[in-house]
Symmetry: C2
DNA sequence: TTGATAGGCAAGTCGATACTTGCCTATGGT
DNA sequence: ACCATAGGCAAGTATCGACTTGCCTATCAA
């Protein structure tokens, strides 16, 4: 579970997808494709993005809801909170009031 | 720079190494090898661990200081702070006092 | 100086994974 | 009914990354 989060974050394209979703939630596959090309000039096939979304989804970082012929993707930052606290000592600077 | 952090965290063995260093800072290569075998039964060669440490070091997650024939490795959690805030919206729950 | 310890360099293997291509299903509009 | 849009499935390629093996350097102790 948490292991998948690290692998999901390892790819730069997947991180870009998360960047897109944090900007505008609930995008479809085609929207994401279009915006990745427009913003970063990423010439990736639709399938490539689809597979990346599947990885992000199985890692719990993206939730999807199907509606008619559209499939909307939402960002879920919950898994992110766990992964860093793993190596932060209890006396971390942010928790010293 | 920050990109390397994600790749460094992608490998389970490297995460184990960080686990070791958060428990006891300033270990040498051989110490880490020994403890990985003892705790997790990881039958990895010394070179494998050495290469992992190089990756962690170039990601800034591990700092090393040479002293005689020993090379001590210290954990540096600073790069970790950046990577999660990247996708946390400004109105995150932890920053709402 | 010899030997043992701690570590580094370089090439090679092998499996994982990112990406493509081609075809198929389903929904919606006209 | 038709066609266009939105997406899925599966196999193939090709690059990247983890790990090994063998040899080499440097520090310390006897």
């Amino acid at each position: 579970m948490a292991e998948d989060v690290f692998k999901a974050l390892a790819d730069p394209t997947r991180r870009r997808i998360l960047d897109e979703l944090v900007e505008r939630d609930g995008q479809t596959l085609f929207e994401i494709c279009t915006r990745l090309v427009a913003k970063h000039g990423l010439g990736l096939s639709r399938q490539a993005i689809s597979q990346h979304l599947a990885v992000l989804e199985s890692a719990g970082l993206v939730l999807s809801r199907r509606q008619g012929r559209y499939k909307f993707h939402d960002l879920n930052t919950e898994p992110l909170e766990l992964i860093v606290t793993r190596w932060l000592k209890p006396d971390a600077p942010e928790s010293t009031p």
